[in-house]
Symmetry: C2
Subunit: 620 residues, 2 copies
Amino acid sequence: MPNYMNEKKLISISKLLCYYILVSTTAAGSGHPTSSLSAVELMATLFFNFYRYDLQDKKNVANDRIIFSKGHASPLLYALFAVIGELSEADLLKLRTFDSPLEGHPSMRFAYTEVATGSLGQGLSIALGMALANRLRGVSHEPYIYVLLGDSEMAEGQIWEALQLASYYKLSHIVGIVDVNRLGQRGETMLGWDIQTYAARAEAFGWNAIIVNDGHDSKQIQTAYKKALSQESRPSIIFAKTIKGKGVSLLENKDNWHGKALNVQELRESLKEIGDIDTTVKEHVHLPYTVEIKNMQKPNSEQLFTTYKKGDSISVREAYGYALNSLGRRHADVVALDAEMSNSTFSEEFKRSFPARFFEMFIAEQNMVSTAVGISSSGYKPFVSTFGAFFTRAFDQIRMAQYSNANIKLAGSHVGVSIGVDGPSQMALEDIAMMRSINESVVLYPSDAASTSQLVKVMYKHVGISYLRMTREKTKVLYDNTDTFFIGGSHVFPADGSSDALVVAAGITLHEALYAQERLKNIGVYITVMDCYSIKPLDSTTLRVLVREARCVVTVEDHYIFGGLGEAVQNELVGLPVRVIQLAVRKRPRSGSMDDLLAYEGINADAIVNSVISLTGLHD
Amino acid sequence: MPNYMNEKKLISISKLLCYYILVSTTAAGSGHPTSSLSAVELMATLFFNFYRYDLQDKKNVANDRIIFSKGHASPLLYALFAVIGELSEADLLKLRTFDSPLEGHPSMRFAYTEVATGSLGQGLSIALGMALANRLRGVSHEPYIYVLLGDSEMAEGQIWEALQLASYYKLSHIVGIVDVNRLGQRGETMLGWDIQTYAARAEAFGWNAIIVNDGHDSKQIQTAYKKALSQESRPSIIFAKTIKGKGVSLLENKDNWHGKALNVQELRESLKEIGDIDTTVKEHVHLPYTVEIKNMQKPNSEQLFTTYKKGDSISVREAYGYALNSLGRRHADVVALDAEMSNSTFSEEFKRSFPARFFEMFIAEQNMVSTAVGISSSGYKPFVSTFGAFFTRAFDQIRMAQYSNANIKLAGSHVGVSIGVDGPSQMALEDIAMMRSINESVVLYPSDAASTSQLVKVMYKHVGISYLRMTREKTKVLYDNTDTFFIGGSHVFPADGSSDALVVAAGITLHEALYAQERLKNIGVYITVMDCYSIKPLDSTTLRVLVREARCVVTVEDHYIFGGLGEAVQNELVGLPVRVIQLAVRKRPRSGSMDDLLAYEGINADAIVNSVISLTGLHD
């Protein structure tokens, strides 16, 4: 065990942290001093006594991690790194300014931020992912993942999703520290200072709950950490009663001071109250243990992927399962997560081959996505699957993932009205819009098994957030196994003559478009069909070339009209002399057969034929 | 208390329910017979003994409500209504067909569906809303809200959000019934049959947890309901150990039978096993009590709204608070919910005037939105506010709300990079895309206090889902208090001469566009500025008229480029001879001043001026 810092030094450091918090936020004119002050002793005790981290080697798998789930306490985070000399006071005084990496909430622009936080309730789930990664890697002297939580964020359901899963997986090396300062943004929290009730809830969820009655007493805090670190089968969570704004009587336990900085006069008086501050105090953090990696997995780069025969019927989701399985054989860093749907998303194919690299996340999508962020931040490449509709549950987590530079691959099945009988609650009809709106995302939508296989490989290689939209129903194999698919690509089925119109489709509607192509040919109308399998980025070059030939365009998609394929395509066509009909889901769907529903929404071959005829004026 | 049905009759009815479930799903060729069978006795005991409902008066406020949170057990729901004669066997045999109202998951097309379900984990939150509405209304003999839950969905964090809030608000007239059949879709649930652990968790969350060791024994079940109905301060939840597929040995407690129907041969054998079925059994449900409404609130239709002076500086969110408050005085059915942000969204203005009609939902956005659905289904008009960024947390709940015909008004503040220093985690930059993608939605985005005031009134009148996008910063009042604003409208600031270009903006960027208009005028360039405050539906008529004049268009928005204002506008321009520049947020934002960020993202007056000059070729 490390040497514990003596009480006197800890008090001196705590004062310095307090000073840094106050001066940096006053300089910024905003920020959360009170929420930072309440956790000073909790974090100082951790940082200088228990935390093990190699500042020279941030990627060291033996490093402990600290996540500020209450991201608004960032002034405290930066203050800690100032005490160890990684930031100067001058750096702190640039808090929240445009050129400073010290943002209002921790972002990846600050070198020691583990993951971006600021949307509450996500830190524990990310820790879960990091702990699963450590287990998978088989790190001896398993490092700890510490998570600082606010009491307000304990109201987020995602917290309880993470708690239940962490105890289910017996992740004893997660330590939660809840700063129970009683006050939320606009008043008292649901439970106030009732740390007993918090603890009872956490215990019921299978955690080792530890109570600290005075969260500013470093002896009590030290004892709590020791208890946490002695646990062998259960994760631990410390509920510490603290005072918001601790140390400054103007702020202590006062309403209406959330997210507000002191003005210069108030700062001056507060610093007087704190007394002598030794700004020369410097400390270090302990180095991590030297560890062994037990589970070096052997990849097999020769692993072949399933091949398909043109004309065979197989669903995209099934092909996803086979491709994921092959990818797993080829690359040891592939892991998979699923929310109780593995037999529908076919991620069970992967699970069968790699039970240790498959994580059942149960029906808790928010936690699943954030867990994947944690896993990816530990160097693995998580493929995350469930019904496309249910990724809407994790939109905030996906949104935040981009700010953590997460490398996660999402696969959503059962998209569109084509699922038929289960009805609208199960239909992903907003998922393209959602995934496109994420600024740093890629959206792929294969139509058959062969392209799916290729696109899963593409997703593996892509660094960032990618989404695979997967049709439930079986579809015909359209492509050769050697056809190439890439981000920003498309595939063209040329017209059998000079092109009268261009039909842009993807996924299930591509098949409808190809039927329409056949039927129209029989009446002497020739259309080009573009498989826009890369919805974002879109292959605008090919699109523009095709539009130059055929100035009538029909877009057709199994998605609501807003923010989907049709809008993406039309956006590329502005200013060009084209006529466009957008076929998309416009009416509230219902249960029925796929054919009924495609017809009802006007996105089947009939609708395409009619649109082409009406656009081209060929009915005259 | 009602007369309890005798055991023999209950067995006979249970058999009939079992029969209906099996034949309807086999006829459909899909559906969830096993998940329905496990809850037969739980629901039959409730339906015929405790439930009080007036079939002739579905809107009767004295009615109890039953929500199938496990919506996939819909065959059981329909079977219950067949036993009371509201559906025929022939109706049941049309399950899941296109023209039948009996959808795969309960939808509003079936007359007795309270709310659409099918995305798990939302039913309890909706019940919470109904119970709050009953309390608010002051219904004597307070009706009960019964919620049938699956054990798999207990993993959803939203469930725990609802549990904590229901006990916080002491909603003793909610009764949860958890059908613990041990098996999820692809295998055992996290807790299996461990009903003790479920109960311990619920108790820790402040509920009266009741255990039923045999969820097929109607005596045990009856005792459990009696216990639940005798509670006076805590909500109750029954954890009943059941057998999935109960009654059919082929199915009982078997894996791989989730969501699958028996084939005809299997059905024949199963029916043989069940034995004699009396299809002539008919039953009724008890009528509700005659109740008094205690809290008839007196509206004041003369209530005036705050007026503003052109040129004054006031934030949209502040104007929202004042307008909501006035609306509350004018209409007694206005209620407000907020997720711990009422001092930032200014919903605290309403809270101060109407504490009983304001519900603090704490930081649990999923539950908040579903609670609003429940409140709206009880006839109130909920305004739901938080940061726009955090509505992404409730996207699934908003998506499902449209299928419940919910009448909810969402107000998201702190949108865009213009919030500045707090950084990207707090910035709503995907919210327009998200809210547009909801098929049945309205998206409004006021730029000043006067238009906000009008649009809040518009939202009150609109029936459905509407979203108000609110800027954090103070902005100048641009409009007169008498100017009119409506869904599908816009406002035009004409060019001071023949128009060289059209700039389409909304919210904060409207102000930038107006600065640009001034600056360009000084150099002899004249632009028309369109305030596109109704983003969905868009005022395409006006847009097209303006584009006919000025064939250069600049769209400018404080939102990511995908799915926002720019795309919505460009979609209307396809085929027209226009040149368009889309200004939007393209780079990952960071902390900084508003001006820094608007400049960094190229969405300020400078960027507009430069775009106009480059588009119109006026720099030549």
